[in-house]
Symmetry: C2
DNA sequence: CTGCCCATGTAAGCAGTTACATGATTAA
DNA sequence: TTAATCATGTAACTGCTTACATGGGCAG
């Protein structure tokens, strides 16, 4: 139940249409909460029905017409409530770790290629995050209101750093194993 | 589509009944692929229907009776195929990061308590992993067949280390923010 | 024979994914 | 006027979660 709150956050940062939200979920917010346009439109409908958002006045468009939304006070209150509420962390679920465990039983044939591919993908993502950090958070500046956003970005950077390091080691260890 | 492969891996490591599998998914395998007993029983039914596993002979039990399964050659082949196949990494999806981003908009009131709670949970998980490492992988020993399992455990340890460090910093930064 | 736990299951519902559909706008 | 693209949506399906149901064995 986080998608509606991701959308409320995005709309508070800037009122948007469904497609604009979709684009922003391909970067920015989507870096840690991805969503497709189908999810977004469905959720916008629900949020509007619940009175958490509304279409910007001055527009009452038909199908195929842009529709921009803004957050209502009830929506902001709901987001504040959700942010402060206790949520248990979700247990880790990672396919690559599972595949390595499986490889310990059925062998590592063919695994290395995809490990290298993942390593490359994570290196690219890391570079992208670091570029954003250089651009948006130059050293020694962080205004108070930027602190939290920078902290979130640091999480992304550190996680990608972990994966590149771990995958690199996995590739090296795979090369040293007897069966190849 | 990873649950059936998690189950195949677990059954190859040791033939088990549904409940034994459920217990093992509460530790071990479950550390990076969790599952409830309902999921497991349903999936066991499917895997049997597909000819990937079978109930151990010498048993043909009724409802309420233990039923143990073992992997058939077709199941092992499917697991090997899946392990070697390319899979795109899933984009990160983390509620706590989303909440911090939301807090940058609606304020941080009430957030610190849950940050501290998460920090404590991750510290416990880290300690548990480190205990397993001490027990199962004493320094300088790793036999080749243990290498991969140790690598997977290291991923768990490093991820929990990241979270404890990050959450600790988040708590400290929250304390320094103007609005508290 | 009662209550409790073990073991296996069924049913309902929700979030997310994939494929497809429709109207409006723009460019050739 | 045709094709491409923008923008919003519907429909069907899969996987996971939550709640509940059923039968067997065992301790008091």
């Amino acid at each position: 139940m986080s998608l509606p709150h991701a959308i409320l956050t995005a709309l508070l940062e800037k009122p948007s249409s469904g497609l604009e939200l979709t684009r922003r979920f391909d970067r920015s917010i989507g870096y840690f909460w991805s969503a497709t346009h189908q999810q977004i439109y469905r959720e916008l409908g629900r949020l509007e029905a619940e009175g958490h958002i509304r279409t910007l006045p001055a527009e009452q468009p038909a199908r195929g017409q842009r529709k921009s939304y803004e957050v209502l006070p009830a929506g902001r209150a709901e987001l504040a409530r959700w942010t402060a509420a206790a949520h248990d962390p979700k247990p880790l679920r990672d396919t690559m770790l599972l595949r390595l465990r499986a490889a310990a039983v059925v062998g590592t044939d063919g695994l290395e290629a995809d490990l290298r591919r993942h390593l490359d993908l994570h290196r690219r993502q890391l570079a992208e995050y670091e570029e954003i950090e250089r651009r948006d958070f130059p050293p020694g500046k962080d205004a108070p209101e930027d602190r939290l956003r920078h902290l979130v970005l640091r999480a992304g950077i550190d996680l990608e750093s972990f994966w590149t390091g771990w995958l690199d080691q996995a590739v090296r260890e795979l090369g040293e194993l007897p069966e190849g």
